[in-house]
């Protein structure tokens, strides 16, 4: 399926092109915008964006492949990312990840069969003072306990 921005996002994309001094610099913001719209980046989406930015598709794919936040496969409705780096790990991040695996019956990297949750272990989220931290889609949930995380998940419909 071919990709195009929705009307509102097309406007935002055009504004981006106008505000940056060159087109290629718009690559990251444009990829964010497309991913926000589509949920993940397909080959077709990347090719269409490359065309809009006057880049070779391979160049833009190279960029996409470098960054962990750009996803080339679909995820569940809620993307759960547990921070696993030292400060979180010292404060129970591993137990938190284990708990989520058991509760959701999936392993890290997997999605629940109903497509609701995807679980990922990620590196430092930059919130070490409120460890352990779980990022759900765009939101940080901090100073978590197992009970707290259960209550948060119960509210996600």
């Amino acid at each position: 399926m071919s990709f195009s921005f929705t009307t509102d996002r097309k406007k935002r994309f055009k504004a981006l092109l106008q505000s940056y001094p060159d087109k290629r610099s718009v690559a990251l913001p444009a990829l964010h915008l497309a991913q926000e719209q589509e949920g993940y980046l397909t080959r077709e989406t990347i090719e269409a964006l490359a065309h809009m930015l006057e880049l070779a598709p391979a160049d833009l794919m190279d960029t996409v492949s470098f960054y962990t936040m750009f996803r080339t496969r679909p995820t569940g409705k809620y993307l759960l990312q547990t921070c696993s780096t030292l400060a979180c790990s010292l404060n129970g991040a591993d137990q938190l990840t284990d708990h989520l695996q058991e509760k959701l019956h999936i392993k890290v990297g997997e999605t629940t069969p109903d497509g609701k949750f995807t679980l990922l272990k990620v590196e430092c989220l930059g919130s070490c003072g409120t460890a352990p931290v779980l990022r759900i889609n765009d939101d940080y949930h901090e100073k978590l306990t197992l009970g707290k995380v259960d209550r948060i998940l119960a509210k996600l419909k």
Partner: protein, 433 residues
């Protein structure tokens, strides 16, 4: 710290502290107004040089000196980039500055931009900080609506635009040339220096990259003078207010502001409440995960500033203090950090790409009880091959294009050397059990 009034976090927690109205009613943008209207470039640079302000991202390079490298006569556009790609494990201060007082950071950017004759500046913020990016955009909108940004700011002839640019999850983009590549829409592969960004940075143009906290200091320096700033803290060679991030096994983790040169024990025991459960302290990482670990007996009397921590064999870095109590398994801690660096190695230089993979292979063996006697020395050998021997004089840099090589080698090496018996016990357990 008695007698110290917070400067950078003075308004923390006040209702509306992120709004322009609040900021303006507390002397906000006075310094930027005077810098834009009444000061020329050399005056601003001179004042910041006098202040002794060192980069707060970790390297500690004098900010005023960095600005002075921008060629005065170049016809190319000059760019300022605010590095908000906060990602050094243990560091979480820039996020706080942005959330609670974005205008302080923007004001610092306006002054820095004027100092280097820049008319388009960027805030490169790590991609995960979606909320923080929105806070900044809201603050920028307020500025545009009040002639603080855009054309003819503060009714002068000076124009300045600022763009918030989100990264997408890559630690290496906190390195200034990796950041510039990323801003250009490419993978964040650091560049060989020279040329330094001040000569050829973003789009080949003169560019300054400064950390959020560095820039947040600038309005205060312009308002109060370079000498005032240099008088803050224990050592005039490494002065100023500092945000200390305390995490790990302390009772009250968080960001604490104090003068540079505050004793590490004061920060851990007086401010952060001491060790959780009143356990014994085992080790402290003083300046973000890239700084070599210090054992409990090495921190007594240690002052937190660039020269003092370096003299103690570690780095002040970003002042990301990670505290580990007696229950910490140092082999696991070492494995955790090595895994972080292996994941974040950009893959450009062979010693780093291959070396970090070797390290986690070896550490993985250890934690599974399959470590070999020779593995301990092998790890030390691998760290030498990635980053060179620990020698904090600058001569030892250079096996990789960027300092990431050192950033993984030093902490891993320090953990293995200082806690060698723990690594050895993993071997004995294998033999006996």
């Amino acid at each position: 710290m008695t007698g110290y009034e917070p400067i950078l976090t003075k308004h923390l927690g006040q209702p509306g502290s992120a709004t322009l109205a609040y900021y303006l009613s507390n002397e906000g943008y006075k310094a930027a107004r005077s810098a834009v209207r009444d000061m020329d470039r050399s005056q601003i640079i001179q004042t910041v040089k006098e202040s002794g302000l060192q980069g707060r991202g970790g390297a500690g390079f004098p900010a005023g000196v960095k600005w002075s490298f921008i060629p005065q006569n170049s016809k190319k556009p000059k760019y300022l980039i605010n590095n908000a790609d906060e990602g050094e494990p243990g560091t979480f201060k820039d996020r706080l500055l942005i959330n609670h007082n974005p205008h302080q950071v923007i004001e610092g950017m306006i002054i820095a931009a004027k100092a280097i004759d820049c008319h388009l500046a960027f805030i490169y913020i790590r991609g995960e900080f979606v909320k923080e990016a929105r806070v900044l955009e809201t603050a920028l909108d307020e500025c545009y609506n009040n002639k603080i940004l855009g054309k003819g700011i503060f009714n002068s002839k000076y124009n300045l635009d600022i763009i918030v640019h989100r990264g997408a999850g890559a630690y290496i983009c906190g390195e200034e040339t990796g950041l510039i590549e990323s801003l250009e829409g490419k993978r964040g592969w650091p560049r060989i220096k020279p040329p330094f960004p001040a000569i050829e940075g973003y789009l080949g143009c003169p560019t300054v990259v400064n950390n959020v906290e560095t820039l947040a200091n600038v309005p205060h320096i312009i308002a109060n003078g370079g000498q005032w700033f240099r008088g803050i803290g224990a050592n005039p060679e490494s002065p100023g207010p500092k945000l200390y991030c305390v995490s790990g096994h302390v009772k009250k983790p968080g960001v604490y502001e104090g003068p540079c040169g505050t004793e590490l024990t004061t920060i851990i025991y007086d401010w952060a409440g001491g060790i959780r459960d009143d356990n014994k302290l085992k080790a402290v990482i003083p300046g973000g995960s890239s700084s070599p670990v210090l054992k409990a007996n090495e921190i007594d009397g240690l002052k937190m500033d660039f020269p003092s921590v370096q003299a103690a064999g570690s780095m002040f870095g970003s002042a990301g203090i990670i505290v580990m109590d007696e229950t910490t398994d140092m082999v696991q801690a070492c494995y955790n950090l090595a895994r972080f660096y292996a994941h974040e190695s950009c893959g450009q230089c062979t010693p780093c790409r291959e070396g970090t993979t070797w390290l986690i292979k070896i550490l993985d063996r250890f934690t599974k009880g399959q470590g070999r006697q020779e593995d301990i020395d092998l790890m030390l050998d691998v760290t030498d091959n990635i980053g060179g021997l620990i020698d904090l004089s600058y001569g030892s840099f250079g096996k990789t294009i960027c300092p990431f090589g050192e950033a993984v080698s030093w902490p891993v090496r320090a953990m293995v050397e200082k806690f060698r018996p723990e690594f050895e016990s993993y071997l004995t357990e294998k033999v006996t059990g």
